[in-house]
């Protein structure tokens, strides 16, 4: 990790890097991401509690939004991945997961926050571990320890010879890689997206500060790029919240499923 020096004799350009994600403690132990997490809990919780407090059979304009979100998670994610009869107990988890990740990701887009909380690997890792423990727990609870691992690692419709290859691959990909890929997918997209924005914004500022007039004209290009990329990031932030929740639902669904 290094800071690239561009100008000769001028101010040094320190390229954004992991150090850009370091925030000073506001209070002992409380940093910006921690505040954002707390705020996300308040926002999401208040939104849903208020919205669900006055639900009507015929939705009004306000109800439409909350109901659309709920319906998206329930039918768009849950029903697609988990059998309808098993879905109900996992609805709170899926709803929480989707909106919690979504709001935290969106902090990367919203002015004054401008840091996707999930770019700190601790948060996605926690959620991924939760998802990992949960789907194994659900599978073992439904099928019993032996049968669950049996149906996952030695499916009856796979020829015996293929099992030599199939079983180790399935074991590694299901029980070891799932939490890692969940974590890395969410963390890396948020992290990389944020760094990319920082590069354009800080780069634009750096060019603006240069004494040579010609170089100053480069900075608007960088800013425009930053704005455009912000919207691309917005898309990715929503998408990643969806993917994380959808995969978790898929893991639970396949752990519950009878045949494999």
């Amino acid at each position: 990790m290094g800071a690239l020096v561009v100008a000769e004799g001028g101010a040094q350009f320190v390229a954004p890097g992991p150090q850009s994600f370091l925030y000073p403690e506001i209070l002992p132990g409380v940093t910006k991401p921690v505040l954002q997490i707390a705020l996300a809990v308040i926002l999401v919780g208040a939104f849903y509690v208020i919205a669900s407090g006055r639900l009507k059979l015929v939705p009004g304009k306000g109800q439409f939004i909350s109901e659309y979100l709920y319906d998206f998670v329930r039918n768009g994610i849950g029903r697609e991945q988990i059998a309808a009869k098993d879905l109900r107990p996992y609805l709170p988890l899926l709803l929480t997961m989707f909106t919690f990740i979504l709001v935290n990701n969106l902090f990367g887009f919203i002015p004054f926050f401008q840091l996707p909380t999930m770019a700190h690997i601790g948060f996605p890792l926690g959620l991924a571990l939760l998802s990992w423990v949960l789907f194994m727990f659900v599978g073992i609870k439904r099928h019993g320890f032996v049968h669950y691992f049996g149906k996952t690692l030695f499916p009856p419709d796979v020829p015996k010879g293929v099992l030599v290859l199939f079983t180790p691959i399935e074991f590694v990909s299901t029980f070891i890689f799932r939490p890692i890929t969940l974590t890395v997918r969410l963390f890396a997209t948020m992290f990389a997206g944020h760094i990319m924005l920082l590069v354009f914004i800080e780069g634009g500022t750096y060019f603006l500060e240069q004494s040579v007039i010609g170089i100053k004209f480069i900075s608007p290009v960088a800013y425009v790029m930053a704005i455009g990329l912000s919207f691309l990031e917005l898309l990715i932030q929503c998408l990643q919240a969806y993917v994380f929740t959808m995969l978790t639902a898929n893991y639970i669904g396949s752990a519950l499923a009878d045949g494999h």
């Binding site: 990790m1 800071a3 040094q12 890097g17 997490i37 059979l57 709920y70 109900r88 709170p92 890792l125």
Partner: protein, 180 residues
């Protein structure tokens, strides 16, 4: 002179901060609690109500249709009943009319025959009376005439009556083919 500077204290971004991991999970747990205790039950209740309402509506419509069909069948049955009733009444009326006509005719017949019989009886009586009158008159006239002609009075009643009767019988015998 090097172009690269190593940033001071740059952390490795893939090493998770354990406090953040724990804080994230606690935050998640709080939200999860809210969702499972309050939000999801409320939404699911709404969904269930909606399903009930729609299914209830369908059921109600089906019920209404069944009722309508039943009413229609009932009306049709009633209509058929009424028609049958009307036909029966008509038939009855016709039969009654026939009966009344027949009765009247019989009555008239009876009346007329009674009148005829009465007339005949009257005629018979009158005829008998006339015959009796004529007989006595004719007898007397004949006797008178015969007395005058013969010049002698026929005192003997019995003989006289025998003569008269014989005469009248002859007269009857002569008149019978004509009266028939």
């Amino acid at each position: 002179m090097t172009n690269f500077l190593v940033a001071e204290g740059a952390p490795n971004p893939v090493i998770p901060s354990i406090p953040e991991l724990i804080i994230g999970l606690i935050a998640f747990a709080i939200l999860l609690f809210l969702m499972s205790k309050l939000v999801v039950p409320r939404f699911e209740k709404l969904y269930a109500e909606r399903v009930d309402k729609i299914e209830g509506g369908i059921k109600k419509a089906e019920q209404a249709q069944a009722e309508a069909e039943q009413a229609l069948a009932q009306y049709k049955a009633q209509l058929a009943d009424a028609r049958a009733e009307a036909a029966k009444i008509r038939d009855n009326a016709r039969i009654e009319a026939e009966q009344i006509k027949e009765e009247l005719r019989a009555q008239a017949q009876e009346e007329s025959s009674r009148i005829v019989a009465q007339g005949q009886a009257q005629l018979q009586a009158q005829r008998a009376q006339i015959v009796a009158e004529l007989r006595s008159e004719l007898g007397r006239l004949a006797v008178d005439l015969a007395g005058k002609v013969v010049g002698e009075s026929l005192e003997d009643d019995a003989r006289r009556r025998g003569t008269v009767d014989r005469f009248l019988d002859e007269l009857d015998a002569a008149a019978a083919p004509a009266s028939k």
